[in-house]
Amino acid sequence: MTRQIPIRLFGAFRQGRTDSTLTVEVAPNASVAELRKAMHEVLETDNARSLLKASAFATDSEVLDDADAVPEREISILPPVCGG
């Protein structure tokens, strides 16, 4: 039994994609670190994998740490930011 986690993509993760989510599969009690590993497996390019290293997972209310359990809420992957 695994969980399907749809991950919302932002910024450079959208480059060359029509879809704005990417779904990955993790174990029921997976941590954010494991989610990161699972996403690494499904990314197609070196660029995207290297971007992932510098990116953070987040819910709609907070940025997650790698040690956190993957929450039940919607998950996003946030590349390095540059507002303003």
Binding site: E62, D65, S76, C82, G83
Partner: protein, 145 residues
Amino acid sequence: MILVDITDSVLDPLIALGHCCADSHGAADLFIGRVRNLNEGRPVTAVSYDLHPVLCRNIFEKISQEALEQWGEHIHVFLAHRQGRLDVGEASVIAAVSSPHRAHSFEACRYLVEQMKVRAPIWKQEHYVDGDSEWIKGHVLRNPA
């Protein structure tokens, strides 16, 4: 008093200054970030801003709340960011603070801008004269220590 916004519409500095205003406030500071025609020597024609609207609003509120904790509950704080494609010269962000004395207005307004730059989930894709476009490298998002 805190007012934050994420919007598709033109940002209006008079709304910021109308919010950052009180009979006891002698000083207001306002910052506008605008799209530049040049980045690292490359001519830019427009910038597309991609945001995570819900998280961005939450983070704007957190940053504003921190400003109240640091400079006093009585200050007024405004922080708004635009999303979508903006031409050169258009305002992408407005931050403003009013308070009784000027030092607090300057410092708190600067705080909003600096924190927004490193903590808010906002990405920009620059469009160049030659038709090319590129996502700008930014700051790695981390939870504040």
